[in-house]
Symmetry: C2
Subunit: 433 residues, 2 copies
């Protein structure tokens, strides 16, 4: 898929954002002054609501040892009989802030009263700066506006409302029979999810019971969100939540599972493509590994190597750095493994086999051209040396394809990552959060 | 220690570089055209020679599963009865290149013939681009010049000759009785050593037997080179080698060990301080951990987090990212650990205790000032948006001090790291290697 402009991308997003039956979405904004800095700030409150609470819902949350208060409360919500709405704020993540859990419950109670639900039927999520307190009074005052804005046509207000440093909203839809699965995702930095991820909401009108939905979500998360990394950093707020309204009969459970997996895979790719400062998305396919953990570890070592990432940013097929990253991981986790049969390909071209590199000026030139082709944009510094992405839509969906065959077993893994650019440094260093 | 200029730093280096008795150092340059790119390049050959081969030598090498040919041969050299010289080239690392091991042996034989030693008494090391072949004929032709340049006054020609992207040479000297230990190090990127490190040569005239030297080196490496990271990337060529000429009686073995540890610690700090694009050196002290591996892991997770690193680059005391990094590591490696007693300090100020952040505008302003004070230089983009460090000497030796008490045990670790800056991206992405 390619997009020539922001408006072309937005037109396509509208086709993805059609709400499944039984759901409404809305959002509202508020101004506040965080006491941690004393400087004015803005926040968006997004609401996803079911027409009536459902017993079919599922969630997966961050494995961080310092989870945010919404994750602590969210885990408890998974034990409730029904869930009816999700309230999400951006700007502040409510992690290790004094009174964080009480703040979550106050927002849930206020939203529940407005929606006619029980407080335990409202899930709250927060994303943004870690360490600050939520502007609780301002948020409760803004809730009626956000709930008054609920409508049943499009999920786009919520997809737009949950973003922070994202350049554009992320929405994916797959139709199943007369129903659909629609997912939205937020996330651009602090992304190496672990057994959960970023903020993702998956809405379906298909009638799938809770146990089936939970199984399907658990199965979908590992090869998608749990196999990607933008910057190795695992968020304190990672959450994936699926909600089924049951308004439409489910024609086939297998088709539903594969559709849910497809929505997750496309959203995970969207998150990588829109990662902070990303010029290239990198897909590392590992095979021939002794076990799955080593296959995944090698893939992660390659996509997380700052030197591999910066080389790809520079359209530099520095394949020595790929071998370095593989050697770094296997030297620690599988010392003594026979790598005599290892092979590496980039863009379909063999660059390493039988223990030695296969490099010459012709291969080098072809790989440079391949990397340029996969680049979404080139850096253009603004005055003062600050770098900002010149686009706010994904111009194409090409990836840098790296295939690694360790020749030492039958296990495989596919890992998605990104390059490391001046725009990432500017986003995270050039101004105070 | 502070330096106001390059010449002040060089004058101090000269005082550190006095060769111990029984050693000579020299270097020579050569031009060549790597067939992998077809573009002209330059290389420096450095030689460290003993007046006569010694039985007292020690080494530690990279744990990479793809070690360079000099590491493969170097491990065998450790079993030889004597070692007499080290030949080091920069520019190309001789890793997984066709005929790599034979190339090492040819250089060793050529140097041995010129020095009057046996080929097994010459250790060869290479550092630079991974994947290219050594220009073997040109190197053998340049050896006589490098060996003719040997002199017994200063190690500086070798300290200068082994560098690649380093901004300045790194030399440290500690006197012991009538003798000394003098170390040189090369390294600026691809640095998270593992059971060995970068290229480090430690020369001493003190009469210490082989077994004692090997013990002392093994003891010195873990808390110094193995407790640092610039970019998480472990080199294929990491080597630390110690050579004792035995020309001077050793007054006290304990004093020798602690002096060797001090030279290693100072060199490791020098390497971090001169890391690619580094503005700030970060020292993370972890205590209260259940075991040493978790203490080290938490320290590494903090210094390796791209979001912590970019925040420090921006003089942004974004302490939420420190908590994120701790939570990421402990969530995977010690799930369920009680962190209710965890405390974090930056620059001596408490920023986190009893599960919550301690942030207000006054603390924030003080920490910004503290980070500015520890900054070695600020980014100044050149035309075209490329960033290059404006200094080629270390202006001071201040660090950003982060203390983490997990409150969950008695184990400790101290880890040294660096920030992540536009200069790192420019060094590794803005031009082809």
């Amino acid at each position: 898929m390619t997009f020539a402009s922001r408006s072309e991308h937005r037109a396509w997003l509208a086709t993805q954002a059609v709400l499944p039956a039984g759901f409404r979405a809305g959002s509202g904004r508020l101004d506040f002054v965080p006491p941690e800095t004393g400087r004015p700030a803005q926040m968006t409150l997004s609401v996803l609501a079911l027409d009536r609470p459902t017993s079919s819902f599922a969630g997966a949350f961050t494995r961080s040892a310092f989870p945010g208060a919404p994750v602590i409360v969210g885990r408890r919500r998974m034990e409730e009989p029904r869930l009816g709405a999700v309230v999400v704020n951006n700007k502040i993540s409510n992690v290790c802030a004094p009174g964080g859990v009480a703040a979550v419950e106050r927002i849930a109670a206020a939203a529940a009263a407005l929606l006619g639900f029980a407080p335990g039927e409202v899930l709250v999520a927060s994303t943004g700066v870690i360490g600050w307190r939520l502007p609780l009074d301002e948020m409760v005052a803004a809730l009626p506006g956000a709930i008054a804005a609920l409508q049943a046509e499009t999920v786009l207000p919520a997809a737009l409302g949950i973003v922070t440093t994202d350049l554009y909203p992320k929405v994916r839809r797959v139709a199943v029979g007369d129903g659909s699965i629609v997912g939205i995702a937020k996330g651009a930095g602090m992304i190496e999810p672990n057994l959960a991820t970023l903020l993702v909401y998956l809405l379906t009108d298909l009638d799938v019971p809770r146990i089936e939905l939970r199984d399907a979500l658990a199965e979908a998360v590992d090869p998608t969100f749990n196999s990607m990394s933008i910057d190795t950093d695992t968020s304190t707020s990672d959450s994936v939540v699926a909600l089924a309204s049951g308004a439409v009969p489910c024609p086939d459970r297998g088709v539903f599972r594969s559709a849910l997996g497809e929505v997750c895979a496309r959203l995970a790719d969207d998150v990588a493509r829109n990662g902070e400062g990303v010029h290239h998305v990198v897909r590392v396919s590992v095979r021939g590994a002794p076990d799955g953990a080593l296959a995944l570890g090698v893939g992660k070592a390659v996509v997380n190597s700052p030197l591999v990432k910066t080389a790809i940013c520079g359209n530099d097929p520095n394949v020595g750095r790929i071998v370095m990253a593989i050697g770094k991981h296997l030297g620690v986790h599988a010392p003594g493994l026979d790598l005599g049969g290892a092979r590496i390909r980039m863009g379909g071209r063999e660059i390493f086999a039988a223990g030695t590199f296969r490099l010459d000026p012709e291969v080098d030139a072809a790989l440079v051209a391949y990397l340029r082709e996969a680049e979404m944009y080139a850096s253009r510094p603004t005055e003062g040396g600050r770098f900002a992405p010149p686009i706010d839509y994904p111009p194409h969906e090409r990836v840098v394809d790296i295939e690694i065959d360790l020749g030492a077993g039958a296990a495989t893994a596919v890992v998605t990552g990104t390059d490391l650019t001046h725009e990432y440094v500017s986003e995270n260093a050039d101004y105070r959060s």
